[in-house]
Protein backbone atom coordinates (compact mmCIF):
# COMPACT_ATOMS: atom_id res chain seq x y z
CA UNK A 1 0.00 0.00 0.00
CA UNK A 2 2.66 2.45 1.07
CA UNK A 3 4.86 1.39 -1.81
CA UNK A 4 2.20 2.01 -4.41
CA UNK A 5 1.51 5.41 -2.90
CA UNK A 6 5.21 6.19 -3.09
CA UNK A 7 5.02 5.29 -6.73
CA UNK A 8 1.90 7.18 -7.80
CA UNK A 9 2.44 10.33 -5.76
CA UNK A 10 5.30 11.78 -7.84
CA UNK A 11 3.40 11.15 -11.08
CA UNK A 12 0.72 13.78 -10.58
CA UNK A 13 -0.14 15.12 -7.13
CA UNK A 14 3.46 15.74 -6.12
CA UNK A 15 5.12 15.89 -9.51
CA UNK A 16 8.76 16.95 -9.11
CA UNK A 17 8.68 19.38 -12.03
CA UNK A 18 5.39 21.22 -11.81
CA UNK A 19 4.78 21.08 -8.06
CA UNK A 20 8.22 21.09 -6.49
CA UNK A 21 9.72 23.11 -9.39
CA UNK A 22 12.83 20.93 -9.49
CA UNK A 23 14.94 19.99 -12.44
CA UNK A 24 13.61 22.31 -15.09
CA UNK A 25 17.15 23.46 -15.60
CA UNK A 26 18.42 22.55 -19.00
CA UNK A 27 15.89 19.81 -19.54
CA UNK A 28 13.51 21.94 -21.56
CA UNK A 29 16.09 22.47 -24.25
CA UNK A 30 15.70 18.87 -25.39
CA UNK A 31 11.96 19.21 -25.90
CA UNK A 32 12.03 20.49 -29.48
CA UNK A 33 11.44 16.93 -30.72
CA UNK A 34 9.84 13.93 -29.03
CA UNK A 35 12.67 11.49 -29.61
CA UNK A 36 15.44 13.28 -27.67
CA UNK A 37 12.89 14.12 -24.98
CA UNK A 38 12.09 10.42 -24.51
CA UNK A 39 15.77 9.46 -24.41
CA UNK A 40 16.46 12.22 -21.91
CA UNK A 41 13.52 11.06 -19.80
CA UNK A 42 14.78 7.47 -19.77
CA UNK A 43 18.29 8.61 -18.85
CA UNK A 44 16.96 10.60 -15.93
CA UNK A 45 14.81 7.66 -14.73
CA UNK A 46 17.92 5.47 -14.79
CA UNK A 47 20.05 7.99 -12.91
CA UNK A 48 17.49 8.88 -10.23
CA UNK A 49 16.63 5.23 -9.61
CA UNK A 50 20.18 3.98 -9.23
CA UNK A 51 21.56 7.00 -7.39
CA UNK A 52 18.71 6.59 -4.89
CA UNK A 53 19.48 2.88 -4.58
CA UNK A 54 23.23 3.34 -4.14
CA UNK A 55 22.93 6.21 -1.67
CA UNK A 56 20.32 4.30 0.31
CA UNK A 57 22.70 1.35 0.58
CA UNK A 58 25.50 3.68 1.66
CA UNK A 59 23.36 5.81 3.97
CA UNK A 60 24.69 4.38 7.23
CA UNK A 61 28.32 4.43 6.17
CA UNK A 62 28.66 8.02 4.96
CA UNK A 63 29.28 10.79 7.52
CA UNK A 64 26.82 13.61 6.90
CA UNK A 65 29.58 16.21 6.51
CA UNK A 66 30.91 14.70 3.31
CA UNK A 67 27.65 13.33 1.95
CA UNK A 68 27.27 16.00 -0.77
CA UNK A 69 30.60 15.07 -2.32
CA UNK A 70 29.78 11.36 -2.13
CA UNK A 71 26.41 12.00 -3.78
CA UNK A 72 28.02 14.00 -6.56
CA UNK A 73 30.54 11.25 -7.22
CA UNK A 74 27.83 8.56 -7.36
CA UNK A 75 25.60 10.67 -9.61
CA UNK A 76 28.47 11.73 -11.89
CA UNK A 77 29.56 8.12 -12.30
CA UNK A 78 26.05 7.05 -13.29
CA UNK A 79 25.79 9.93 -15.75
CA UNK A 80 29.11 8.98 -17.31
CA UNK A 81 27.73 5.44 -17.79
CA UNK A 82 24.62 6.87 -19.51
CA UNK A 83 26.70 9.20 -21.66
CA UNK A 84 29.06 6.48 -22.83
CA UNK A 85 26.13 4.15 -23.51
CA UNK A 86 24.36 6.77 -25.64
CA UNK A 87 27.53 7.53 -27.57
CA UNK A 88 28.08 3.86 -28.29
CA UNK A 89 24.56 2.82 -29.27
CA UNK A 90 22.57 5.97 -30.15
CA UNK A 91 25.13 8.34 -31.57
CA UNK A 92 22.67 10.63 -33.40
CA UNK A 93 20.53 11.21 -30.34
CA UNK A 94 23.59 11.75 -28.18
CA UNK A 95 24.72 14.45 -30.62
CA UNK A 96 21.32 16.15 -30.34
CA UNK A 97 21.39 16.03 -26.56
CA UNK A 98 24.97 17.43 -26.56
CA UNK A 99 25.80 18.89 -23.15
CA UNK A 100 22.42 18.16 -21.65
CA UNK A 101 23.31 14.58 -20.74
CA UNK A 102 26.16 15.91 -18.63
CA UNK A 103 23.77 18.33 -17.00
CA UNK A 104 21.77 15.46 -15.48
CA UNK A 105 24.46 15.66 -12.76
CA UNK A 106 23.24 19.10 -11.79
CA UNK A 107 19.58 18.23 -12.23
CA UNK A 108 18.00 19.15 -8.93
CA UNK A 109 15.62 16.17 -9.00
CA UNK A 110 18.42 13.65 -8.66
CA UNK A 111 20.14 15.43 -5.81
CA UNK A 112 16.84 16.46 -4.25
CA UNK A 113 15.48 12.91 -4.05
CA UNK A 114 18.74 11.55 -2.68
CA UNK A 115 18.76 14.21 0.02
CA UNK A 116 15.08 14.08 0.83
CA UNK A 117 14.30 10.39 0.50
CA UNK A 118 17.16 7.97 -0.09
CA UNK A 119 19.17 8.99 2.96
CA UNK A 120 16.32 8.03 5.29
CA UNK A 121 14.74 5.00 3.68
CA UNK A 122 15.40 1.36 2.81
CA UNK A 123 17.01 0.56 -0.57
CA UNK A 124 13.92 -0.88 -2.25
CA UNK A 125 11.68 2.05 -1.22
CA UNK A 126 14.36 4.46 -2.39
CA UNK A 127 14.63 2.69 -5.73
CA UNK A 128 10.86 2.87 -6.31
CA UNK A 129 10.86 6.53 -5.31
CA UNK A 130 13.67 7.20 -7.79
CA UNK A 131 11.87 5.45 -10.64
CA UNK A 132 8.61 7.25 -9.89
CA UNK A 133 10.20 10.69 -9.73
CA UNK A 134 12.08 9.98 -12.94
CA UNK A 135 8.80 9.03 -14.63
CA UNK A 136 7.06 12.13 -13.26
CA UNK A 137 9.82 14.21 -14.79
CA UNK A 138 9.79 12.33 -18.11
CA UNK A 139 6.03 12.84 -18.36
CA UNK A 140 6.36 16.61 -18.33
CA UNK A 141 9.19 16.51 -20.86
CA UNK A 142 7.10 14.37 -23.17
CA UNK A 143 4.01 16.57 -22.86
CA UNK A 144 6.06 19.69 -23.67
CA UNK A 145 7.88 17.95 -26.52
CA UNK A 146 4.58 16.66 -27.93
CA UNK A 147 3.15 20.16 -28.31
CA UNK A 148 6.37 21.70 -29.53
CA UNK A 149 7.00 19.08 -32.18
CA UNK A 150 3.35 18.91 -33.26
CA UNK A 151 2.90 22.65 -33.72
CA UNK A 152 6.51 23.57 -34.44
CA UNK A 153 7.34 21.00 -37.11
CA UNK A 154 3.94 19.41 -37.78
CA UNK A 155 5.37 15.97 -36.99
CA UNK A 156 5.40 13.40 -34.18
CA UNK A 157 8.51 11.22 -33.82
CA UNK A 158 9.44 12.48 -37.27
CA UNK A 159 6.19 11.31 -38.97
CA UNK A 160 4.03 13.86 -40.75
CA UNK A 161 0.87 14.54 -38.81
CA UNK A 162 -0.35 18.07 -39.37
CA UNK A 163 1.56 18.89 -42.54
CA UNK A 164 -0.77 16.79 -44.71
CA UNK A 165 -3.73 18.94 -43.67
CA UNK A 166 -2.01 22.03 -45.01
CA UNK A 167 -0.72 23.18 -41.62
CA UNK A 168 1.92 25.90 -41.78
CA UNK A 169 4.63 25.29 -39.17
CA UNK A 170 4.74 27.79 -36.36
CA UNK A 171 8.46 28.13 -35.88
CA UNK A 172 7.97 30.21 -32.74
CA UNK A 173 7.23 26.90 -31.00
CA UNK A 174 10.80 25.81 -31.72
CA UNK A 175 12.29 28.77 -29.87
CA UNK A 176 13.19 28.29 -26.20
CA UNK A 177 10.69 30.78 -24.70
CA UNK A 178 7.71 28.69 -25.83
CA UNK A 179 8.83 25.75 -23.70
CA UNK A 180 8.62 27.98 -20.64
CA UNK A 181 5.19 29.23 -21.57
CA UNK A 182 3.95 25.65 -22.11
CA UNK A 183 5.24 24.64 -18.68
CA UNK A 184 3.51 27.71 -17.23
CA UNK A 185 0.25 26.60 -18.80
CA UNK A 186 0.70 23.02 -17.54
CA UNK A 187 1.17 24.37 -14.02
CA UNK A 188 -1.91 26.52 -14.47
CA UNK A 189 -4.07 23.56 -15.50
CA UNK A 190 -2.61 21.32 -12.79
CA UNK A 191 -3.28 23.87 -10.07
CA UNK A 192 -6.77 24.57 -11.30
CA UNK A 193 -7.52 20.88 -10.71
CA UNK A 194 -5.55 20.51 -7.46
CA UNK A 195 -6.82 23.56 -5.63
CA UNK A 196 -4.85 22.85 -2.45
CA UNK A 197 -1.61 23.68 -4.28
CA UNK A 198 -2.66 27.23 -5.08
CA UNK A 199 -0.74 30.02 -3.39
CA UNK A 200 -2.69 32.45 -1.26
Amino acid sequence: MKLSKNFTNPLAANNPVIVQILGICSALAVTVKLEPACVMGLSVIFVTAFSNLVMSLLRNGVPSRIRIIVQLVVIATLVIVVDQFLRAYMYDVSKQLSVYVGLIITNCIVMGRVEAFALGNKPWDAFVDGVANGIGYALILIIVAFFRELFGSGTLFGFDVLARFGYVNNSLMLFPPMALIIVGVIIWIHRSINKDLQEK
Binding site: I105, P177, L180, I187, W188
Partner: protein
Protein backbone atom coordinates in the same frame (compact mmCIF):
# COMPACT_ATOMS: atom_id res chain seq x y z
CA UNK B 1 36.44 38.94 -27.47
CA UNK B 2 33.83 41.67 -27.09
CA UNK B 3 31.71 39.65 -29.44
CA UNK B 4 32.06 36.60 -27.22
CA UNK B 5 31.09 38.69 -24.20
CA UNK B 6 27.96 40.15 -25.80
CA UNK B 7 27.09 36.78 -27.24
CA UNK B 8 27.27 34.92 -23.95
CA UNK B 9 25.55 37.69 -22.00
CA UNK B 10 22.63 38.66 -24.21
CA UNK B 11 22.17 36.43 -27.22
CA UNK B 12 22.84 33.04 -25.70
CA UNK B 13 21.63 34.07 -22.28
CA UNK B 14 21.88 31.16 -19.87
CA UNK B 15 18.29 31.48 -18.69
CA UNK B 16 16.41 32.51 -21.81
CA UNK B 17 18.20 30.41 -24.41
CA UNK B 18 19.23 27.31 -22.44
CA UNK B 19 17.03 27.27 -19.31
CA UNK B 20 20.15 26.92 -17.16
CA UNK B 21 19.79 27.46 -13.46
CA UNK B 22 15.99 27.56 -13.51
CA UNK B 23 15.54 25.99 -10.07
CA UNK B 24 17.19 28.74 -8.10
CA UNK B 25 16.01 31.28 -10.68
CA UNK B 26 12.36 30.58 -9.90
CA UNK B 27 12.83 30.04 -6.17
CA UNK B 28 15.09 32.97 -5.27
CA UNK B 29 13.61 35.64 -7.54
CA UNK B 30 11.14 36.90 -4.96
CA UNK B 31 13.09 39.92 -3.77
CA UNK B 32 15.58 42.05 -5.67
CA UNK B 33 18.06 42.11 -2.80
CA UNK B 34 18.42 38.36 -2.52
CA UNK B 35 18.51 38.04 -6.29
CA UNK B 36 21.39 40.53 -6.45
CA UNK B 37 23.33 38.53 -3.87
CA UNK B 38 22.80 35.18 -5.52
CA UNK B 39 23.56 36.61 -8.95
CA UNK B 40 26.84 38.01 -7.69
CA UNK B 41 27.78 34.68 -6.13
CA UNK B 42 26.95 32.78 -9.32
CA UNK B 43 28.89 35.24 -11.47
CA UNK B 44 31.90 34.98 -9.19
CA UNK B 45 31.85 31.19 -9.21
CA UNK B 46 31.52 31.14 -13.00
CA UNK B 47 34.38 33.56 -13.59
CA UNK B 48 36.62 31.33 -11.50
CA UNK B 49 35.48 27.84 -12.50
CA UNK B 50 35.26 28.24 -16.27
CA UNK B 51 38.97 29.18 -16.67
CA UNK B 52 39.98 26.51 -14.13
CA UNK B 53 38.07 23.89 -16.06
CA UNK B 54 39.51 25.26 -19.29
CA UNK B 55 43.04 24.64 -18.00
CA UNK B 56 42.01 21.21 -16.74
CA UNK B 57 40.54 20.43 -20.12
CA UNK B 58 43.62 21.58 -22.02
CA UNK B 59 46.28 19.92 -19.88
CA UNK B 60 44.60 16.82 -18.51
CA UNK B 61 41.45 15.81 -20.33
CA UNK B 62 42.07 16.57 -24.00
CA UNK B 63 43.32 13.71 -26.21
CA UNK B 64 47.10 13.28 -25.91
CA UNK B 65 47.31 16.01 -23.26
CA UNK B 66 48.56 13.96 -20.33
CA UNK B 67 50.42 11.30 -22.26
CA UNK B 68 50.58 10.22 -25.88
CA UNK B 69 47.51 8.18 -26.83
CA UNK B 70 45.57 8.85 -23.63
CA UNK B 71 42.12 10.43 -23.96
CA UNK B 72 40.50 11.16 -20.60
CA UNK B 73 37.52 13.01 -22.10
CA UNK B 74 35.03 10.70 -20.40
CA UNK B 75 36.21 11.94 -17.00
CA UNK B 76 35.29 15.54 -17.71
CA UNK B 77 31.88 15.44 -15.97
CA UNK B 78 33.29 14.20 -12.71
CA UNK B 79 36.33 16.51 -12.70
CA UNK B 80 34.31 19.60 -13.59
CA UNK B 81 31.77 18.97 -10.87
CA UNK B 82 34.54 18.38 -8.34
CA UNK B 83 36.15 21.74 -9.17
CA UNK B 84 32.78 23.49 -8.95
CA UNK B 85 31.80 21.85 -5.66
CA UNK B 86 35.13 22.76 -4.07
CA UNK B 87 34.79 26.33 -5.24
CA UNK B 88 31.24 26.73 -3.99
CA UNK B 89 32.38 25.53 -0.58
CA UNK B 90 34.92 28.36 -0.61
CA UNK B 91 32.35 30.99 -1.61
CA UNK B 92 30.03 29.72 1.10
CA UNK B 93 32.69 30.20 3.75
CA UNK B 94 33.51 33.70 2.47
CA UNK B 95 29.87 34.82 2.42
CA UNK B 96 29.27 33.39 5.88
CA UNK B 97 32.22 35.32 7.22
CA UNK B 98 31.61 38.69 5.60
CA UNK B 99 27.85 38.89 5.17
CA UNK B 100 25.91 36.71 7.62
CA UNK B 101 22.59 38.38 6.70
CA UNK B 102 22.97 37.47 3.03
CA UNK B 103 24.07 34.00 4.12
CA UNK B 104 20.84 33.53 6.06
CA UNK B 105 18.69 34.85 3.23
CA UNK B 106 20.20 32.59 0.61
CA UNK B 107 19.83 29.61 2.93
CA UNK B 108 19.89 26.29 1.14
CA UNK B 109 20.49 27.93 -2.22
CA UNK B 110 24.08 28.76 -1.48
CA UNK B 111 25.32 25.16 -1.30
CA UNK B 112 22.96 24.44 -4.18
CA UNK B 113 25.01 26.73 -6.43
CA UNK B 114 27.15 23.61 -6.81
CA UNK B 115 24.30 21.95 -8.61
CA UNK B 116 23.26 25.11 -10.44
CA UNK B 117 23.13 24.04 -14.05
CA UNK B 118 24.31 27.45 -15.22
CA UNK B 119 27.75 26.83 -13.78
CA UNK B 120 28.17 23.25 -14.93
CA UNK B 121 26.60 24.22 -18.25
CA UNK B 122 29.07 27.08 -18.64
CA UNK B 123 31.97 24.67 -18.25
CA UNK B 124 30.47 22.10 -20.62
CA UNK B 125 29.74 24.69 -23.30
CA UNK B 126 33.23 26.07 -22.86
CA UNK B 127 34.58 22.58 -23.54
CA UNK B 128 32.57 22.42 -26.76
CA UNK B 129 33.72 25.86 -27.89
CA UNK B 130 37.42 25.12 -27.44
CA UNK B 131 39.11 25.62 -30.77
CA UNK B 132 36.35 27.77 -32.25
CA UNK B 133 35.44 30.76 -30.09
CA UNK B 134 37.58 30.03 -27.05
CA UNK B 135 41.29 29.73 -27.73
CA UNK B 136 43.03 30.86 -24.55
CA UNK B 137 42.50 31.47 -20.85
CA UNK B 138 41.47 35.08 -21.51
CA UNK B 139 38.62 33.97 -23.74
CA UNK B 140 37.41 31.52 -21.14
CA UNK B 141 37.39 34.24 -18.44
CA UNK B 142 35.40 36.52 -20.76
CA UNK B 143 32.96 33.71 -21.47
CA UNK B 144 32.50 32.93 -17.77
CA UNK B 145 31.98 36.61 -16.97
CA UNK B 146 29.52 37.15 -19.81
CA UNK B 147 27.42 34.12 -18.93
CA UNK B 148 27.46 34.95 -15.25
CA UNK B 149 26.36 38.55 -15.81
CA UNK B 150 23.69 37.32 -18.21
CA UNK B 151 22.27 35.10 -15.49
CA UNK B 152 22.56 37.88 -12.95
CA UNK B 153 20.70 40.27 -15.23
CA UNK B 154 17.94 37.73 -15.79
CA UNK B 155 17.34 36.96 -12.12
CA UNK B 156 17.37 40.62 -11.05
CA UNK B 157 14.92 41.61 -13.78
CA UNK B 158 12.71 38.71 -12.82
CA UNK B 159 12.81 39.64 -9.14
CA UNK B 160 11.87 43.23 -9.97
CA UNK B 161 8.90 42.11 -12.03
CA UNK B 162 7.76 39.68 -9.35
CA UNK B 163 7.88 42.38 -6.70
CA UNK B 164 5.49 44.45 -8.83
CA UNK B 165 3.26 41.51 -9.61
CA UNK B 166 2.44 41.17 -5.93
CA UNK B 167 0.00 44.05 -6.46
CA UNK B 168 -1.82 42.73 -9.49
CA UNK B 169 -4.68 40.27 -9.83
CA UNK B 170 -3.20 37.04 -11.07
CA UNK B 171 -5.60 34.06 -11.38
CA UNK B 172 -5.25 31.95 -8.25
CA UNK B 173 -3.97 28.88 -10.07
CA UNK B 174 -1.30 30.88 -11.87
CA UNK B 175 0.14 32.53 -8.77
CA UNK B 176 3.74 31.75 -7.91
CA UNK B 177 5.63 29.53 -10.33
CA UNK B 178 3.01 29.48 -13.09
CA UNK B 179 3.11 33.19 -13.80
CA UNK B 180 6.89 33.18 -13.27
CA UNK B 181 7.33 30.71 -16.11
CA UNK B 182 5.12 32.66 -18.47
CA UNK B 183 6.91 35.92 -17.66
CA UNK B 184 10.26 34.26 -18.26
CA UNK B 185 9.00 33.04 -21.62
CA UNK B 186 7.90 36.54 -22.60
CA UNK B 187 11.23 37.98 -21.44
CA UNK B 188 12.94 35.35 -23.56
CA UNK B 189 10.99 36.49 -26.60
CA UNK B 190 12.08 40.06 -25.85
CA UNK B 191 15.69 38.91 -25.61
CA UNK B 192 15.45 37.35 -29.06
CA UNK B 193 15.88 40.83 -30.56
CA UNK B 194 19.57 40.60 -29.66
CA UNK B 195 20.16 37.62 -31.91
CA UNK B 196 22.30 38.36 -34.90
CA UNK B 197 24.30 41.19 -33.33
CA UNK B 198 27.89 41.06 -34.51
CA UNK B 199 30.59 43.39 -33.26
Amino acid sequence: MLNLFINSMLIENMVFAFFFGMCSYIAVSKSVKTALGLGAAVTFVMVMTVPLNYLLNQYVLAPNALAEGVDLGFLSFILFIAVIAAFVQLVEMIVEKFSPSLYNQLGIFLPLIAVNCAIMGGSLFMQQMVGTEINNVGDSIVYGLGSGIGWWLAIVMMAAIREKIEYSHVPAALKGPGIAFIITGLMGIAFMIFSGIQL
